[in-house]
Symmetry: C2
Subunit: 185 residues, 2 copies
């Protein structure tokens, strides 16, 4: 399984890292040997919404190669959902069997056209914007529509990650990852 973690200027880091931690444990804790991941951006270095710098491992590479792509949120999503080059890059994930978002990252999945006819969730402050893109805005930590999985605000990244761990590796593995993360969610 190949995972692509999307990062971009102005993202909220906890949206990214909260999902990255449980998902990458599929490999580091030895549950699934063929898991690999990239950190994907359209520029050489990005800074989060508080100026923390991250270095992606893939720059501008089309996203269609991944089995799962995870898109974080950030206040800036309200703006960049209208930026054509960025949205066009996000649209390269069309062939990916699983597309996931945290927080207002769902606005980006929506702008890319992946939420049509689907139920979805987002940060509590982004529900009106999300309604433009999906069939129904749902007030749940994680909304799983099979191929598209969206999560609520910031810390729900952890719940999304654990949900995906269970989806790909089962309940027992999810419980082991959850305990190692010392999480009681």
């Amino acid at each position: 399984m190949k995972i692509g973690f999307v990062i971009y200027d102005g993202m909220t880091s906890l949206d990214f890292i909260g999902a990255y931690d449980p998902l990458t444990r599929l490999k580091t804790m030895g549950f699934l040997k063929n898991v690999s991941w990239d950190v994907c951006a359209i520029s050489e270095q990005i800074t989060d919404d508080r100026e923390l710098a991250f270095s992606p491992t893939q720059v501008g590479t089309p996203l269609g190669r991944y089995d799962l792509v995870v898109v974080p949120g950030g206040y800036v999503t309200r703006k960049i959902r209208y930026e054509a080059p960025f949205v066009k890059w996000l649209q390269t994930m069309e062939p990916c069997p699983f597309k996931a978002s945290v927080c207002s990252g769902s606005l980006l999945l929506g702008a890319a056209g992946f939420l049509k006819g689907k139920r979805a969730t987002t940060h509590p402050t982004a529900r009106v914007e999300l309604a433009e893109y999906c069939a129904e805005v749902v007030d749940q930590r994680v909304v799983d529509e099979g191929s598209v999985i969206t999560a609520a605000g910031v810390t729900s990244a952890i719940d999304l990650g654990l949900h995906l761990v269970e989806k790909f590796a089962g309940f027992d593995v999810k419980e082991k990852v959850r305990r190692q993360m010392d999480y009681y969610g």
Copy 2:
């Protein structure tokens, strides 16, 4: 208030980011205007325990200038607590009024001598090692000994961050930050 977030090779990113998110919201959400922070390491670039790269904003700078220093954990703490140059650098935080750790980061505070006579906590798998350094190992999400505050495993970083937000800015601010983070811990 000046905050120093310590990062190092092999750390667990969620330990860092889980505390960084609520603490930096003291400024970004407009509660305390004089909050600033640095990301501090002893090398130009560090990679976490899964090879994610971070760029510190301060390299090798003594830590005594900060009001609060936050030290994340990682499996590598079992080894680097014996590395003299790193521990010596950590000891430069001696004058800081508040020293905090997440997960096995408490082993590093312990190795630096800051847990003598104090109650402390850590990741459930590091309790035996922690006992060498402190008066009592406590099974709690966050243990606040006034000047030294330690948290349990990985995701307790969020609880530590919110605890410190409340300590520095009060219950109402903590509740606003918690809600914005969509956290129910």
